[in-house]
C-alpha cells in the first residue's frame, strides 16, 4: 500500500465537528428540512411496498451476481473497451490514479479540464493534484461548482452543496465570480453558473467524468445525470477521461434498468434522470462529434480489501444513491462535513475504513445508534448496521487479530476491553449477576451524579430499590 496525501481531515476531531453542527440551530434546521424533502420524494416514488421490496431484492441479486464474477468481468470489460478504442488504466491507490490522469493530460500538453460529477475524483482529490501540476480543473455540476468556489468538499454524495442556503451561494457568487452582483434568485444564480461553464466547455481540452455502470459484455460506460454537464464533459473536449471504482461493473446491459430505476428513485425521488449517457468508444471516422480519445481509470483504493471478505464485500454492492444519508438520524443532525471523509453518512462509515484504514476511521464506527434506517432504505439491501458492528469488532479488538484489515485494532484500548471482559464475567454468571444487581439496588443512592456523556442531557441512571426478581418473590 503506497503512501498518499489526503487533504481532507481524517476522522479525528469528529466529535468536535459534529458538536459544532449540533449546536447550530440554523444548520440543524436546514439539514432537517433538506432530508425531509428528499425522504418524502423517495417515499412518493415507492407507493407500493411489495414492488419496492421485490425491486430491492432484484437490485441486491444483480449486484451480488456481478460482484461474484468481478475478476472475470474486469478482464472482460478491459478487453471490450480496448476493442472499442477506449484506453484502460489500472490504479491501486489515489496517487497512482492521479499520476495516470495527470500523465494523460500532460502528454497532450493540456492545461484545462472540465469535470462532471465524480465522487471517485473527490476520493483521490484530483483537483488538488491538478492544481499542484498547474492544470485548471473546473467542476461543472452546479453543486460541485459551488463547493469548489467555496473551497470545500461535498457534504453529500448526490447533492454536494446541500449544506448551503441560496443566500450563501449568492454571496459566494458575488464574491468569487467576476462581474457578478449579489442575487439570491435561484434561476439567476443557475444562469450565472451556466454562463461561466459554457465558456469553459469550449476551452477545455480535457473532460473528466465518473461512471455509474460499466458494462463488461459490451464495453460501455454509463453515466446518470440531470444537468447535461456530464454529456458536455464527455463529448465537447478532445479527450475524455472517466474514472471509477472497480466495483461499478455489471456484466450485461440488461442488468442496468432495475439498478437505474432504484438509483434515481432512491436518490432524488425521480422516476428517471434527465440524461443517461452511454459511451462505447471515441469518435469514429465520419462522426461529427465526440472525443478523439477516451480513457477509463479503474481505481481499487481499498475496495479489494473489502472484496476479500465475504461479509464486508456487501459494502461494494453500493450504487451511490445517498438514500442512507437522507434517512440517517445522525447525518441529519451533523451533515456531511463532520465525518471528515469523502463519503459521509452510513455508507461512508462502512466504505471509508477500507479506503483510509481503520486507524483513521475507528471513531466513525461508533457514530451510529444502529437504528437500521439506512439498511431499510438501501436499494441493494446492504446490511449497513451489521457491517458497522463488524467494523466495531475489527476496530476494538487487540491489534494483529486480523492482518487483512488495514488499521485493525486501532480503536483498541486495554481499559475498554477489560471493562467488557468484566461485564461478561458478571452477566455470564447468574450468581455474580444476582450479587452485583442486588448490591446495585441496595447502594442505589451511591450511583454517581455524573455518568459521562449520559448525564450531559439526562438525569443520572439509578437502579430501582427492588429488582424484578425481588418483586416476584415479594408477591409469592
Amino acid at each position: 500500500m503506497s503512501e498518499h496525501t489526503l487533504h481532507f481531515k481524517p476522522a479525528e476531531g469528529f466529535r468536535a465537528r459534529s458538536k459544532a453542527v449540533v449546536d447550530n440551530p440554523f444548520l440543524r434546521q436546514s439539514f432537517r428540512g433538506a432530508m425531509d424533502f428528499l425522504m418524502s420524494k423517495r417515499a412518493a416514488q415507492f407507493p407500493d411496498p411489495e414492488e419496492l421490496e421485490s425491486l430491492r431484492s432484484l437490485g441486491e441479486a444483480i449486484r451480488q451476481y456481478n460482484l461474484a464474477k468481478l475478476p472475470d468481468l474486469l478482464e472482460q470489460l478491459e478487453a471490450n473497451l480496448t476493442r472499442n478504442g477506449v484506453k484502460v488504466h489500472w490504479a491501486e491507490t489515489p496517487d497512482e490514479a492521479n499520476t495516470i490522469i495527470l500523465g494523460i493530460i500532460q502528454g497532450h500538453g493540456a492545461t484545462k479540464m472540465v469535470k462532471g460529477k465524480s465522487m471517485v475524483s473527490e476520493e483521490i482529490e484530483l483537483n488538488h493534484a491538478a492544481e499542484a501540476a498547474g492544470i485548471e480543473a473546473l467542476e461543472s455540476d452546479m453543486g460541485e461548482y459551488i463547493v469548489q468556489l467555496a473551497g470545500e468538499k461535498p457534504s453529500h454524495i448526490i447533492m454536494p452543496a446541500i449544506h448551503k442556503t441560496k443566500e450563501e451561494i449568492a454571496r459566494l457568487f458575488a464574491e468569487k465570480v467576476p462581474g457578478v452582483d449579489y442575487t439570491d434568485n435561484v434561476d439567476a444564480l443557475i444562469q450565472i453558473g451556466r454562463n461561466v461553464l459554457r465558456r469553459k466547455f469550449q476551452e477545455a481540452e480535457i473532460g473528466l467524468s465518473g461512471v455509474n455502470f460499466a458494462v463488461a459484455e459490451t464495453g460501455t460506460l454509463c453515466l446518470v445525470e440531470n444537468e447535461g454537464n456530464g454529456r458536455m464533459c464527455t463529448t465537447a473536449p478532445a479527450i475524455h477521461i472517466a474514472i471509477t471504482g472497480i466495483e461499478k461493473i455489471v456484466e450485461k446491459l440488461e442488468h442496468i434498468p432495475p439498478l437505474y430505476s432504484l438509483l434515481t428513485r432512491s436518490a432524488t425521488g425521480q422516476n428517471i434522470s434527465t440524461y443517461f449517457n452511454m459511451i462505447s468508444s471515441p469518435r469514429k471516422p465520419g462522426e461529427k462529434d465526440g472525443p478523439e480519445e477516451v480513457h477509463l481509470v479503474l481505481l481499487d483504493n481499498g475496495r479489494s480489501q473489502a472484496y476479500a471478505d465475504e461479509q464486508l464485500r456487501k459494502t461494494l454492492q453500493c450504487i451511490r444513491c445517498g438514500a442512507c444519508m437522507n434517512h440517517c438520524p445522525v447525518y441529519t443532525r451533523i451533515g456531511g462535513h463532520a465525518y471528515g471523509t469523502t463519503y459521509p453518512g452510513p455508507i461512508g462509515k462502512i466504505v471509508s475504513p477500507h479506503m483510509l484504514g481503520l486507524d483513521a476511521t475507528a471513531g466513525l464506527t461508533t457514530a451510529s445508534s444502529l437504528c437500521g434506517a439506512c439498511g431499510e432504505v438501501c436499494p441493494v439491501k446492504i446490511p449497513i448496521p451489521e457491517l458497522l458492528v463488524r467494523l466495531r469488532n475489527e476496530a476494538f479488538s487487540a491489534p494483529h487479530a486480523n492482518p487483512a484489515m488495514r488499521g485493525q485494532g486501532a480503536g483498541h484500548s486495554a481499559l475498554q476491553s477489560a471493562i467488557w471482559r468484566g461485564w461478561a464475567a458478571v452477566y455470564g454468571s447468574p450468581a455474580l449477576y444476582r450479587a452485583v444487581s442486588w448490591l446495585g439496588s441496595r447502594l442505589r443512592f451511591l450511583v454517581p451524579r455524573r455518568q459521562g456523556g449520559w448525564t450531559s442531557v439526562r438525569t443520572p441512571l439509578q437502579p430501582a430499590p427492588k429488582r424484578l426478581r425481588d418483586l416476584l418473590k415479594d408477591r409469592n
Binding site: V22, N393, P430, S437, R458, L461, L472
Partner: protein, 262 residues
C-alpha cells in the same frame, strides 16, 4: 432454518425473559407484563438465572463477550414454550443475532435456532398469539406511542403496540412528528457520541411533547430510559417538579387501563 413465528395454538405456559434493564431499572414494567400475561390465563415462568441477552457487548463490537453472556441464556429455556420479552431490541438480539452468534458452534447453534423461533416481543405476543382484546376501564386519555427501532425494523412489530392501544376505547393515540425516527439511545452510542445522541433525544422529546399527549408509552425500556431521562433533565433545568412528559412501559399502561392488578 427458522421456524414460523406465529404459533396458532394458545400456549398454557410461557417463559418471561425480563432483560437486564427491566430487572434493574424498570422492575414494575416487568411485573405488570407478567400480570398482564397471567390474567390471560397463562402460567408465566421466570428463569431465575437469567441475566442479559448480551446485546450491549454485541452492538459495541465485543462479540466474544456477547457470546459468553448469550451462551448462558441458551441454557435457561428447556421446555418448548414461547419466550416473551418486554423489549423489541432484546427480543431482536435473541431472535435474529443468536443464530449468527453461534454459527461456528453446531450444538449451540441448534439450541439458538430453536430458541430464536420461540422468541416474541411482548406486544407481538399479546396481539399475534393471544389475540388480546383489552377492555378499557379508564377515563379519557391521550397518549403517544414510541416504538423502538429494533421493534420496528428488526422484529417488524411496530403495528402491534398501536393495535393494542387502538383497542382501548377511551384512549386516543396521537402521532408524533418523525415518528419512525430513532430516539438516540443506541446503547453505548449515547455515551460514546453524547452530542449526536443528545441532539436526537432532544428532538424526540420535543416531538413527543408537541403532540400534547398526557404520556408517552413504549414497549422498550432502553428508549424510555433515554426519553424520560432527557425530559426529567429538562424539567430539572427548568426547576419544574412535575414531569413535563410522564411515560411508562406499555405493559403498565395496558394493565392499568384494563383493571389494574385486581
Amino acid at each position: 432454518m427458522t421456524n414460523p413465528t406465529t404459533q396458532t395454538s394458545r400456549p398454557s405456559d410461557v417463559y418471561f425473559f425480563a432483560t437486564c434493564v427491566v430487572d434493574q431499572f424498570f422492575p414494575g414494567a416487568g411485573l405488570d407484563a407478567i400480570t398482564l400475561l397471567e390474567r390471560q390465563g397463562i402460567r408465566v415462568h421466570f428463569p431465575e438465572d437469567q441475566t442479559c441477552c448480551g446485546q450491549p457487548a454485541y452492538s459495541s463490537g465485543f462479540e466474544e463477550e456477547a457470546r459468553r453472556v448469550a451462551a448462558h441464556q441458551l441454557t435457561l429455556f428447556p421446555n418448548d414454550w414461547p419466550i416473551v420479552v418486554p423489549s423489541g431490541s432484546c427480543a431482536g438480539m435473541m431472535k435474529h443475532h443468536y443464530p449468527k452468534l453461534f454459527a461456528a458452534d453446531p450444538t449451540r447453534k441448534a439450541v439458538a435456532e430453536r430458541l430464536s423461533a420461540r422468541v416474541y416481543e411482548l406486544t407481538q405476543f399479546l396481539v399475534e398469539v393471544l389475540d388480546f382484546q383489552p377492555q378499557d376501564c379508564g377515563g379519557d386519555c391521550k397518549v403517544v406511542l414510541h416504538t423502538s427501532c429494533s421493534a420496528r425494523r428488526e422484529m417488524g412489530v411496530h403495528l402491534t403496540g398501536r393495535k393494542l392501544l387502538a383497542g382501548l376505547e377511551k384512549v386516543s393515540v396521537v402521532q408524533q412528528d418523525h415518528e419512525s425516527e430513532c430516539c438516540g439511545f443506541g446503547g453505548t452510542f449515547s455515551v460514546k457520541q453524547p452530542e449526536i445522541s443528545g441532539a436526537m433525544v432532544e428532538d424526540k422529546v420535543k416531538a413527543l411533547k408537541a403532540t400534547g399527549a398526557e404520556r408517552v408509552v413504549s414497549a422498550d425500556c432502553g428508549c424510555l430510559m433515554n426519553i424520560l431521562g432527557h425530559a426529567a433533565w429538562q424539567d430539572q433545568q427548568a426547576g419544574r417538579s412535575e414531569p413535563s412528559l410522564p411515560g411508562e412501559h406499555i405493559a403498565s399502561f395496558l394493565l392499568r387501563r384494563t383493571g389494574g392488578e385486581q
